[in-house]
Amino acid sequence: MIWQLDLIILLMVVICGIAAISIRDLLGAAIMFGAYSFMMCLLWSIMGAVDVSFTEASVGAGVSTVFFVAAVFRTTRRTRD
């Protein structure tokens, strides 16, 4: 574990998380959420949890984002906050 790298990625995770909930466009929020999941998966693979990060990469960054995009596509991109 290289803690400097760890810390940088953690920062990215937090930034992506804040971005995901503050972007005023649901499609953008969904994509930011995908980025958040991907950063999280990087963090976990650095911490040695390879199986978890593998799952997060496929589930969180992959399929979850697709679900979000599908739901936004079928409903609306509009959000007021």
Partner: protein
């Protein structure tokens, strides 16, 4: 409401923050979490199950009951999405769109209109159809088989490397979803219909549960794969190893099918006519 919530969150966060000083340091090898139960797994996995990937061994054997219900959770999610969203065909939307291939004209056919045969002349298209998707189409056609192959490798090689039924299943499902996104939903449902994805989903969980129940019938406890050693050529340890493999395959099938099933319902808003 907003401000009240913020205050509550800050108090809660402060409480959690103050607790962090009492928790063992990050990466502390002598913390109770690393010294009480987990050494057993690391030290005995090979002799108990002959699976080098400890995570796989715990997932499918030591704590296999959790994983059974984890698969059941995924299955219920697929079933729940179906239950909530699916609209039967007779209530399907009004207008359909067709493209005349030779002239490139788009036809909008209202309900009651004569629907042209899907032939070389007419092609049914989504209402949100985007032209010129040749590159995307070809790339995905190239990528999808390799992704699927990789998914199978992940499932099969879960004993020795990171991965296993879940990851492989999700990747396989993602490959099918990729195909559905790049082409359209109808050509995907022609290859893997909703019915077969539902059947495969429950079939995968049945494989898992059936293995567990078979172990009861063979005289061992529920999910105790060493009971499978009555089959010729298996000793209890390798029986556990094979049991894990069977279970992972079941999980892989179930997860693949259910991911695709959820996608079908979400992307088409339950009509299963037009996708993303």
């Amino acid at each position: 409401m907003k401000r009240l919530g913020l205050i509550a969150i800050i108090i809660f966060g402060g409480l959690l923050f103050s607790i962090t000083f009492e928790l063992p340091d990050l990466g502390d090898a002598s913390s109770p979490a690393s010294t009480h139960v987990s050494p057993y797994y690391i030290e005995h996995t090979l002799e108990d199950t002959s699976v080098p990937n400890v995570v796989t061994a715990i997932l499918a054997d030591y704590r296999g009951y959790d994983t059974l219900f984890e698969t059941a959770v995924i299955f219920s999610a697929g079933l729940a999405c179906f239950f909530l969203l699916r609209i039967p065909e007779r209530k399907a939307p009004k207008a359909r769109f067709y493209r005349h291939l030779t002239t490139g004209l788009t036809l909008r056919i209202e309900k009651g209109g004569r629907i042209p045969e899907e032939s070389k002349e007419f092609e049914r298209i989504d209402s949100a159809w985007v032209p010129n998707d040749v590159i995307i189409n070809m790339t995905c056609r190239l990528v999808v088989p390799f992704v699927q192959l990789f998914a199978l490798y992940v499932i099969a090689h879960g004993h020795h490397s990171p991965g296993g039924g879940f990851q492989g299943g999700v990747i396989f499902g993602a490959a099918i979803i990729l195909f559905a996104i790049s082409n359209n939903l109808r050509s995907t449902t022609r290859r893997l219909s909703e019915k077969s994805s539902a059947l495969l989903g429950s079939g995968g969980v049945i494989i898992y549960l059936g293995t567990g129940l078979l172990c009861i019938l063979l005289g061992a406890g529920f999910l105790n794969y060493s009971g499978l050693s009555v089959f010729p050529g298996l000793d209890p340890v390798s029986a556990r190893s094979y049991g894990i493999l069977i279970v992972e395959i079941g999980v892989g099938i179930a997860v693949t099918a259910v991911m695709v099933w959820i996608y079908y319902n979400l992307a088409s808003a339950g009509t299963q006519e037009e996708g993303l």
